[in-house]
Symmetry: none
Subunit: 212 residues, 4 copies
């Protein structure tokens, strides 16, 4: 009854995105050739351009698919938490855990889809904003719940995203820390401290910090 099919059984649209993820992660956006993508996907150039109007549009679709899944995972994880601050901590943890499990997704989302000209960069800006927007809303809620003092949540959300981004990129490039998630507790503590939230304040009966 499983919906998880063997690659050969999945439809061409998805097989192409799967292959593109792999190839772009290895070679980067520009150097990822349509030829290599269709070879890996077991389809053909004709099929590629039947399903996507251009390489660029196909990458947009790939990035959106990845973002959707990642956002869903984060929101799913945060949704089970009792307070805004717990939700922030859970979001950080979920993001780290997800990227740690999916190096290629991290590679493409954090490393390979920027720096390809002003126009392309601006196209991906909304995706950046989805993540920082999610953090910002949680920060706003924490302020409203008086868990933290009022502050520039737009700026802070960008800083958090940037801090997470950099730590993960270093891991991608150097393999350190190993595993990536070993850095999560310290990272989470520093981020919370930056908004004046003492990590102990998070403790609630039945939810230890490690579980976040």
């Amino acid at each position: 009854m499983s919906k998880r099919l063997q690659p050969e059984e999945a439809n061409a649209r998805d097989r192409i995105l799967d292959a593109a993820l792999e190839v772009i992660a290895q070679r980067g956006y520009s150097a990822a050739g349509v030829q290599e993508i269709v070879e890996l996907s077991g389809t053909s150039k004709g099929s590629f351009y039947f399903h996507y109007p251009s390489k660029e549009e196909m990458v947009m679709a790939l990035v959106e698919r990845m973002s959707d899944k990642l956002i869903a995972k984060i929101e799913g994880s945060a949704g089970q938490q009792p307070t805004p601050l717990h939700r922030l901590a859970a979001s950080v943890d979920a993001l780290m855990a997800t990227f740690a499990r999916q190096r290629n997704v991290a590679r493409v989302l954090l490393l390979n889809i920027i720096g390809h000209g002003r126009a392309t960069d601006r196209k991906f800006l909304p995706i950046r904003e989805r993540f920082s927007g999610l953090i910002q809303r949680q920060l706003d809620a924490a302020v409203e719940a008086k868990q933290i003092r009022p502050l520039d949540t737009l700026l802070v959300s960008q800083m958090w995203v940037g801090a997470l981004h950099e730590v993960i990129v270093r891991w991608l490039l150097t393999g350190q820390p190993s595993p990536l998630t070993s850095a999560t507790p310290a990272l989470r503590a520093i981020l919370l401290k930056s908004v004046g939230a003492d990590p102990p304040a998070l403790e609630t009966p039945g939810v230890s910090a490690d579980q976040l």
Copy 2:
């Protein structure tokens, strides 16, 4: 005695780097053609390949030139400060101020030289590390001077660099905040708070926070 020459008087090596900075900032690394660079520089393809063995090596030289200048500016600014914590604050301020004044440098250094394949990315890793290394040494000094409590300075330095990176990238893409430096005081305060340093602790006679 001025070192600032008219473009036509500067030597070919530098004119090529100047032109490359401009072109890469506009088009991105991959789309920046050697043809356009040599046209803007007033030299020729032959000259380009006489001075640099490849486009990639030339970009390395450009990035190194930019990094050297930026590091020098930061260290120069930090060197005048009395304590490690003052030096950290001054470093952040100098970095923000310098990128705010040189959009193209920010664009290339932060946006356009990553994501072009595993090999290329690893080549630029040392440059990333120069910046976080600088911050880390200042953090270590602050710990040693007991201005802040012991913490994982490697991780924190990466987080700081990432936070700065993201704020500046957003500014490059959206123009907000305007001017970029208007965000500096809040940014500096949040970063210091993340390591448990109260901004008031920085105040010293003759050096107001605004001057940092």
Copy 3:
């Protein structure tokens, strides 16, 4: 009893030809894609290749359909005339009038189906010859009826077709003369003069030149 159907009611074979006429008139033979033709026709690629073995054969069918209708119109118009010379004049008039009314037909027949390689050009030669053959037979009849002196009717028929062709092509490309048919009397007079037939010689009781 009407034979004129709504496009959706006509059969697929004809709907494809109708669409092809439109698309080839706009884009030219080579640039007219099968995809666009089937989209406009409301059919499908499969249907296209069920009814026609190839794009080329389908264009042949289109050209033949158009030629048949045009020849029929010309012969119908000429058939009502009393003498060979009248029939020649009527043929010229009918041809001009028909193309004036059907720009797309003129475009495809005169402009878009030649110049696509030796083989293709030769395929369309018989269609060219249908028109000049029709003129030639009328010229031969005029010679036999002693309305004009003996001459190289093969050559003259080609020249007439070429002259008409060029005038119509110019009109297609420039819109001049406007309307096309405003040139018909002068054109007819010059053609007749070229074979030594004074236009006044055409006058017969009950048939004024204007009616031709």
Copy 4:
């Protein structure tokens, strides 16, 4: 001292045009691939696009080169004639003679550069107009010199060009008449007759009709 070089010695720009003439004559405009042209020319794709910005621009250059030479030949031949009517006759003769000698030029100029979409067709319109304009000016001069009665010289010049065009195209496709120039005297006579000029009126001492 000859300027005529072996193909290998000529410069790349011209070698490309020479090869393009050959390939387009065989295959037609659309089917003539840049690959085949550069192979025949002994150059490379890079060289092709170094010298011409696109295939279309290169064909424009080819057509202009051919037109220039043809117009020069016609005007040179006509310039030696005593009267406008003689110049008209000489122009017709020169055009027929030139195309008879250069089948490929005829093929490309008369057969292969039209019918490739509205935009392209309009681009070549000025070239059509160079030839009919030349004829029209000679007809105007003949009217002014009272060698022929006033008439619509614009229309007549188009008709002449069309008549010549068609005769030559038929020869290209069928090989008839053989040689092409065997049709010249009759053709010339019919054209002159179409404007009311008796061929005998052309006779001048020392210039027989055959020499025209």
